[in-house]
Amino acid sequence: MAAPADFRIREEQLTELLVESDLRRTREPESRILNELGRCRFSEESTFAVKLALEEALTNAVKHGNKNDGSKRLRIRFYVDRHVAVIAVSDEGGGFRPEDVPDPTADENLERPNGRGIMLMQAYMTKVRFNPAGNEVWMLKENRAEPTNPPEGDPSSTTPARP
Protein backbone atom coordinates (compact mmCIF):
# COMPACT_ATOMS: atom_id res chain seq x y z
CA MET A 1 0.00 0.00 0.00
CA ALA A 2 1.03 3.60 -0.46
CA ALA A 3 1.76 5.78 2.54
CA PRO A 4 -1.29 6.77 4.60
CA ALA A 5 -2.67 10.10 3.31
CA ASP A 6 -1.98 11.93 6.57
CA PHE A 7 1.74 11.04 6.31
CA ARG A 8 1.92 13.43 3.34
CA ILE A 9 4.64 11.45 1.61
CA ARG A 10 4.76 10.43 -2.04
CA GLU A 11 6.00 7.03 -3.18
CA GLU A 12 8.81 8.60 -5.23
CA GLN A 13 10.25 10.27 -2.12
CA LEU A 14 10.84 6.90 -0.46
CA THR A 15 14.02 4.85 -0.62
CA GLU A 16 13.17 1.17 -0.99
CA LEU A 17 15.25 -1.77 0.21
CA LEU A 18 14.46 -5.45 -0.13
CA VAL A 19 16.22 -7.73 2.36
CA GLU A 20 16.18 -11.38 3.29
CA SER A 21 13.95 -12.04 6.26
CA ASP A 22 16.79 -12.55 8.72
CA LEU A 23 17.61 -10.27 11.65
CA ARG A 24 21.30 -10.40 10.69
CA ARG A 25 20.35 -8.93 7.31
CA THR A 26 18.31 -6.06 8.75
CA ARG A 27 21.30 -4.44 10.43
CA GLU A 28 22.46 -2.72 7.26
CA PRO A 29 19.09 -1.07 6.45
CA GLU A 30 18.78 -0.09 10.12
CA SER A 31 22.20 1.55 9.99
CA ARG A 32 21.28 3.40 6.80
CA ILE A 33 18.15 4.82 8.40
CA LEU A 34 19.97 5.76 11.61
CA ASN A 35 22.68 7.46 9.57
CA GLU A 36 19.98 9.48 7.85
CA LEU A 37 18.62 10.55 11.24
CA GLY A 38 22.10 11.73 12.20
CA ARG A 39 22.57 13.55 8.89
CA CYS A 40 19.21 15.29 9.38
CA ARG A 41 20.14 16.22 12.96
CA PHE A 42 17.42 14.27 14.68
CA SER A 43 17.38 14.93 18.42
CA GLU A 44 18.63 12.27 20.82
CA GLU A 45 15.07 11.65 22.05
CA SER A 46 13.66 11.25 18.55
CA THR A 47 16.54 9.02 17.48
CA PHE A 48 16.02 6.81 20.52
CA ALA A 49 12.33 6.53 19.62
CA VAL A 50 12.90 5.66 15.95
CA LYS A 51 15.60 3.15 16.81
CA LEU A 52 13.32 1.38 19.28
CA ALA A 53 10.26 1.37 17.00
CA LEU A 54 12.27 0.24 13.99
CA GLU A 55 13.79 -2.65 15.93
CA GLU A 56 10.31 -3.71 17.07
CA ALA A 57 8.85 -3.45 13.55
CA LEU A 58 11.67 -5.48 12.00
CA THR A 59 11.56 -8.12 14.72
CA ASN A 60 7.79 -8.45 14.33
CA ALA A 61 8.08 -8.75 10.56
CA VAL A 62 10.80 -11.42 10.67
CA LYS A 63 9.50 -13.39 13.62
CA HIS A 64 5.72 -13.10 13.55
CA GLY A 65 5.11 -12.01 9.94
CA ASN A 66 7.52 -14.19 7.99
CA LYS A 67 7.74 -16.77 10.81
CA ASN A 68 11.56 -16.82 10.66
CA ASP A 69 11.39 -18.16 7.10
CA GLY A 70 14.66 -17.00 5.52
CA SER A 71 13.33 -17.60 2.01
CA LYS A 72 10.88 -14.73 2.50
CA ARG A 73 11.76 -11.08 2.21
CA LEU A 74 11.14 -7.78 3.89
CA ARG A 75 10.41 -4.57 2.06
CA ILE A 76 11.67 -1.51 3.89
CA ARG A 77 10.85 1.98 2.67
CA PHE A 78 11.99 5.19 4.32
CA TYR A 79 12.23 8.93 4.00
CA VAL A 80 14.01 11.28 6.40
CA ASP A 81 14.34 15.04 6.46
CA ARG A 82 15.09 17.33 9.37
CA HIS A 83 11.43 17.47 10.42
CA VAL A 84 10.21 13.95 10.00
CA ALA A 85 11.15 10.29 9.49
CA VAL A 86 8.76 7.93 7.70
CA ILE A 87 9.44 4.20 7.71
CA ALA A 88 7.39 1.34 6.27
CA VAL A 89 8.15 -2.33 6.90
CA SER A 90 6.27 -4.99 4.92
CA ASP A 91 6.51 -8.75 5.30
CA GLU A 92 5.16 -11.66 3.26
CA GLY A 93 3.14 -13.18 6.07
CA GLY A 94 -0.59 -13.53 6.49
CA GLY A 95 -0.84 -10.43 8.66
CA PHE A 96 -2.53 -9.86 11.99
CA ARG A 97 -5.13 -7.62 13.56
CA PRO A 98 -3.52 -5.13 15.96
CA GLU A 99 -6.74 -5.02 17.98
CA ASP A 100 -6.32 -8.75 18.74
CA VAL A 101 -3.06 -8.12 20.62
CA PRO A 102 -3.86 -8.10 24.35
CA ASP A 103 -3.05 -4.92 26.26
CA PRO A 104 0.38 -5.69 27.75
CA THR A 105 -0.10 -3.08 30.47
CA ALA A 106 -3.22 -4.78 31.89
CA ASP A 107 -2.48 -6.26 35.32
CA GLU A 108 -3.16 -9.80 34.12
CA ASN A 109 -0.67 -9.42 31.25
CA LEU A 110 2.14 -7.58 33.03
CA GLU A 111 4.26 -10.67 33.52
CA ARG A 112 3.80 -12.07 30.03
CA PRO A 113 7.19 -12.11 28.33
CA ASN A 114 5.95 -10.87 24.96
CA GLY A 115 3.35 -8.66 23.31
CA ARG A 116 4.93 -5.24 23.96
CA GLY A 117 6.37 -4.45 20.54
CA ILE A 118 3.29 -2.84 19.01
CA MET A 119 2.54 -0.72 22.05
CA LEU A 120 6.13 0.54 22.20
CA MET A 121 5.95 1.48 18.51
CA GLN A 122 2.72 3.35 19.17
CA ALA A 123 4.09 5.01 22.30
CA TYR A 124 7.32 6.21 20.72
CA MET A 125 6.28 7.15 17.19
CA THR A 126 4.07 10.11 16.31
CA LYS A 127 1.87 7.99 14.02
CA VAL A 128 1.64 4.23 13.42
CA ARG A 129 -0.68 2.65 10.83
CA PHE A 130 -1.13 -0.92 9.63
CA ASN A 131 -2.43 -1.91 6.21
CA PRO A 132 -5.76 -3.77 6.19
CA ALA A 133 -3.99 -7.12 5.65
CA GLY A 134 -1.83 -6.48 8.75
CA ASN A 135 1.49 -7.30 7.08
CA GLU A 136 2.72 -3.76 6.57
CA VAL A 137 3.33 -1.03 9.12
CA TRP A 138 3.84 2.67 8.43
CA MET A 139 5.46 4.79 11.12
CA LEU A 140 6.07 8.52 11.25
CA LYS A 141 8.21 10.37 13.77
CA GLU A 142 8.30 14.12 14.06
CA ASN A 143 11.74 15.32 15.02
CA ARG A 144 11.38 17.00 18.37
CA ALA A 145 14.15 19.30 19.43
CA GLU A 146 15.82 18.65 22.76
CA PRO A 147 14.08 20.58 25.56
CA THR A 148 17.36 22.28 26.43
CA ASN A 149 18.04 23.23 22.84
CA PRO A 150 14.88 24.70 21.30
CA PRO A 151 14.61 25.06 17.52
CA GLU A 152 15.27 28.38 15.86
CA GLY A 153 11.62 29.42 16.23
CA ASP A 154 10.69 27.56 13.08
CA PRO A 155 6.88 27.28 13.08
CA SER A 156 7.03 24.48 10.52
CA SER A 157 8.84 22.23 12.97
CA THR A 158 5.60 20.57 14.04
CA THR A 159 4.31 20.20 10.49
CA PRO A 160 6.20 17.96 8.11
CA ALA A 161 7.54 20.10 5.28
CA ARG A 162 7.43 18.51 1.90
CA PRO A 163 9.78 19.22 -0.96
Binding site: E45, P104, T105, L110, G117
Partner: protein
Protein backbone atom coordinates in the same frame (compact mmCIF):
# COMPACT_ATOMS: atom_id res chain seq x y z
CA UNK B 1 36.70 -12.03 40.79
CA UNK B 2 35.46 -10.89 37.42
CA UNK B 3 34.42 -13.52 34.90
CA UNK B 4 34.55 -12.14 31.39
CA UNK B 5 32.02 -13.47 28.89
CA UNK B 6 30.66 -12.30 25.59
CA UNK B 7 27.74 -10.15 26.77
CA UNK B 8 27.94 -9.77 30.56
CA UNK B 9 30.52 -9.22 33.29
CA UNK B 10 29.82 -10.76 36.67
CA UNK B 11 31.39 -9.83 39.97
CA UNK B 12 30.62 -10.94 43.47
CA UNK B 13 29.74 -8.47 46.23
CA UNK B 14 29.37 -10.61 49.37
CA UNK B 15 26.31 -12.75 48.69
CA UNK B 16 25.18 -10.82 45.61
CA UNK B 17 26.10 -11.50 41.98
CA UNK B 18 26.41 -8.11 40.29
CA UNK B 19 26.01 -8.23 36.52
CA UNK B 20 27.04 -5.48 34.12
CA UNK B 21 26.12 -5.59 30.47
CA UNK B 22 28.93 -5.26 27.98
CA UNK B 23 26.67 -4.15 25.12
CA UNK B 24 25.25 -0.64 25.09
CA UNK B 25 22.26 -1.92 23.12
CA UNK B 26 20.12 -4.82 24.29
CA UNK B 27 17.95 -4.78 21.22
CA UNK B 28 18.49 -7.67 18.91
CA UNK B 29 16.81 -11.03 19.42
CA UNK B 30 19.98 -12.93 18.65
CA UNK B 31 22.16 -11.26 21.28
CA UNK B 32 19.29 -11.20 23.79
CA UNK B 33 19.02 -14.97 23.51
CA UNK B 34 22.73 -15.27 24.26
CA UNK B 35 22.42 -12.93 27.26
CA UNK B 36 19.46 -14.95 28.49
CA UNK B 37 21.46 -18.17 28.21
CA UNK B 38 24.34 -16.68 30.20
CA UNK B 39 22.07 -15.30 32.93
CA UNK B 40 20.05 -18.52 33.11
CA UNK B 41 23.31 -20.40 33.60
CA UNK B 42 24.09 -18.18 36.61
CA UNK B 43 20.62 -18.64 38.08
CA UNK B 44 20.53 -22.39 37.65
CA UNK B 45 24.04 -22.70 39.03
CA UNK B 46 23.10 -21.00 42.30
CA UNK B 47 19.65 -21.71 43.72
CA UNK B 48 18.51 -18.77 45.84
CA UNK B 49 20.73 -16.40 43.87
CA UNK B 50 20.72 -12.70 44.71
CA UNK B 51 21.18 -11.09 41.33
CA UNK B 52 21.71 -7.41 40.67
CA UNK B 53 21.56 -6.26 37.05
CA UNK B 54 23.43 -2.98 36.63
CA UNK B 55 22.22 -1.10 33.53
CA UNK B 56 24.92 1.57 33.77
CA UNK B 57 26.27 0.80 30.29
CA UNK B 58 22.94 0.25 28.57
CA UNK B 59 21.38 2.96 26.45
CA UNK B 60 18.95 0.97 24.28
CA UNK B 61 16.63 -1.90 25.08
CA UNK B 62 13.80 -3.60 23.17
CA UNK B 63 10.62 -5.44 24.07
CA UNK B 64 12.50 -8.73 23.55
CA UNK B 65 14.93 -7.63 26.28
CA UNK B 66 12.01 -6.82 28.59
CA UNK B 67 10.60 -10.29 27.90
CA UNK B 68 13.94 -11.84 28.75
CA UNK B 69 14.02 -9.94 32.08
CA UNK B 70 10.50 -11.10 32.93
CA UNK B 71 11.37 -14.73 32.23
CA UNK B 72 14.57 -14.44 34.25
CA UNK B 73 12.79 -12.83 37.18
CA UNK B 74 10.23 -15.66 37.25
CA UNK B 75 12.97 -18.28 37.13
CA UNK B 76 14.83 -16.62 40.01
CA UNK B 77 11.68 -16.51 42.12
CA UNK B 78 11.07 -20.20 41.39
CA UNK B 79 14.56 -20.89 42.73
CA UNK B 80 13.83 -18.78 45.87
CA UNK B 81 16.19 -16.04 44.75
CA UNK B 82 15.80 -12.31 44.21
CA UNK B 83 16.60 -9.96 41.36
CA UNK B 84 17.07 -6.20 41.43
CA UNK B 85 17.87 -3.69 38.69
CA UNK B 86 19.92 -0.52 39.08
CA UNK B 87 21.42 2.47 37.26
CA UNK B 88 18.76 2.59 34.56
CA UNK B 89 19.07 5.77 32.53
CA UNK B 90 16.17 8.16 32.09
CA UNK B 91 15.22 7.05 28.57
CA UNK B 92 15.27 3.36 29.44
CA UNK B 93 13.37 3.93 32.66
CA UNK B 94 10.69 5.57 30.52
CA UNK B 95 10.38 2.27 28.58
CA UNK B 96 9.81 0.47 31.90
CA UNK B 97 7.21 3.07 32.88
CA UNK B 98 5.34 2.99 29.57
CA UNK B 99 5.08 -0.79 29.79
CA UNK B 100 4.31 -0.54 33.55
CA UNK B 101 7.15 -2.95 34.21
CA UNK B 102 8.58 -0.56 36.80
CA UNK B 103 5.88 -2.14 38.98
CA UNK B 104 7.08 -5.67 38.27
CA UNK B 105 10.81 -5.19 38.82
CA UNK B 106 12.63 -4.03 41.94
CA UNK B 107 14.43 -0.99 40.53
CA UNK B 108 17.01 1.07 42.45
CA UNK B 109 18.85 4.27 41.56
CA UNK B 110 22.31 2.79 42.01
CA UNK B 111 24.23 -0.33 42.98
CA UNK B 112 24.79 0.72 46.60
CA UNK B 113 21.09 1.26 47.17
CA UNK B 114 20.25 -2.07 45.51
CA UNK B 115 22.87 -3.95 47.54
CA UNK B 116 21.55 -2.54 50.80
CA UNK B 117 18.05 -3.59 49.64
CA UNK B 118 19.22 -7.20 49.52
CA UNK B 119 20.43 -6.92 53.09
CA UNK B 120 17.29 -5.25 54.43
Amino acid sequence: MEQPSSHIKVRRDHSVSVVEFVDRKILEELSIKEIEDELTGLVEGEPGIRLLLNFRNVDHLSSAALGMLITLNKKIKEHNGAMKLSDINRQIFEVFKITRLHRVFDIHDNVEQALSGFNA
